[in-house]
Amino acid sequence: MSGWELFQLWVMAFGTIAIFSFLYGDNPFYKFAEHLFAGLTAGYYFGLYYDTVVVQQLWIPIVENSKWSLILPGIFGVSMFARLIPKYSWMARIGLAFVMGSTAGIFLMSELHGNVLGQMGGAMAIQNSGGAPNYLLTAIAAVGLICTLIYFYFSKEHTGVLGATANVGIWFIMISFGAHFGYTVMGRISLLIG
């Protein structure tokens, strides 16, 4: 173990112990590590966004491939910094409009097409397990889906038939959340062991 590797080990140990100390109560040692981590993250973002956006997405295409049209998004991007000055903060909205508009356009399509229609297609097919069609599983899948949707139906009081289906729905939901609970606990423990 060379001196340099020992130093590296010490630095990692410092980070780990400083954060673990929070278990035994909030202390200045933890506060120091916490604030250092916040700084490192912000610094990481500085380096990353300057390099991947300003240099790689703007400077190189303009200089190398002379793609002058990229100057416009560059200007809108810089106008985002107007948000720091309250008086001119409205200027940042133009750039934001492009981002929000295009993202909303894509999501409107992908959520309906990929998620709603895609999942409905899956719900109509015969579920198979171990290669063979499994009709019990198909029944469970159909009943579970319909009851879950009914449980999250708010336009009518949960009484009568609607109430009964919603009740079945809550039992399905509790089992699913139980499984989710087990998986989450498992995940947290793996992070401790890792």
Binding site: N65, F107, Y183, M186, S190
Partner: protein, 279 residues
């Protein structure tokens, strides 16, 4: 009555020490149990096996630094599996913190074992903001979204990128993620461009993906350290996950015991109160 007082006043520090013990014992005396494969992991393995050899596969590192214990073993095993099949690997990430650095480091380490050359056999495109632009934009032209790779070399100088222009030249997408990005890969890329894909995710994210598995939008799921351990068995590359999963067993028993004990105390207290109310 004595049990109730003991149960309700157990100090949290005791519980912490119990957890430490439950982690350290299996480290000292390793116990190994047979890890059998669940259907989701088997169909993921088969899907990657069916990818034609020496075709190009997109491997994503959509992961933050905090869940590397679960996601890094999956990425490593996937790289072993793909390089063994002589596939070209293009890596990218939609996560700003950690994604680019981990993709760079892990891919280079595993590629060195198979003496793969950067630029010819594998390329790291790195990170670009606004994941929606990346997922949707790669369908039309990779070069327009990624003018250069992660270290700033122009794509025109990388031989592999001369042939790989859009999703059409990519045979399979292997997603490694610890957040909800898999939903977007499925609802944008799989639904609109029909790319076959599978997802290796942290345990927290796994239960949701069964719905995508059921509708055939995903061809396989690796869930948390257990999924990673099964995949390592199938690829015959036992690594961090196989060791980790055996340690985990004892802590799981501890948690279940704690829930049971806690509820025991709760019921005894409630019965005692009811007796008092009646008495």
């Amino acid at each position: 009555m004595k049990i109730i007082t003991f149960l309700s006043t157990l100090n949290r520090r005791w519980v912490y020490t119990l957890v430490w013990i439950a982690v350290i014992i299996p480290l000292l005396f390793p116990m190994s149990f047979k890890i059998n494969t669940t259907p989701e992991v088997q169909s993921l393995y088969d899907a990657v096996e069916n990818v034609p050899d020496s075709s190009t596969v997109l491997l994503t590192f959509d992961l933050w630094p905090n869940a590397l214990a679960e996601t890094e073993p999956m990425a490593r095993t996937a790289l072993h599996h793909l390089f063994r099949k002589n596939c070209n690997v293009v890596t990218l990430t939609t996560i700003p913190l950690g994604g680019p650095s981990v993709a760079e480091r892990v891919t280079r380490e595993v590629a060195a074992l198979y003496d793969k050359k950067y630029g010819v056999d594998y390329v790291n495109l790195g990170y670009k903001p606004n994941y929606v632009s990346v997922l949707r934009g790669l369908a039309t032209s990779i070069e327009s979204i990624y003018p250069t790779d992660n270290s700033g070399t122009m794509l025109s100088q990388l031989p592999l990128m001369h042939t790989v222009k859009t999703y059409d030249q990519i045979a399979f997408i292997f997603i490694v993620a610890d957040n909800g990005i898999v939903d977007n890969w499925v609802s944008i890329v799989n639904a609109q461009f029909g790319k076959k894909m599978c997802a290796a995710v942290t345990s927290v994210m796994a239960p949701k993906l069964y719905a995508y598995m059921g509708s055939g939008q995903l061809t396989g799921i690796l869930g948390g350290m257990k999924g990673a351990a099964e995949y390592e068995q199938l690829v015959h590359k036992p690594g961090l996950a196989t060791i980790g999963i055996s340690i985990q067993s004892l802590v799981h028993f501890l948690i279940i015991a704690l829930i049971g004990l806690g509820n025991l105390g709760f019921f005894l207290e409630r019965r005692a109160k009811q007796k008092e109310a009646r008495g």
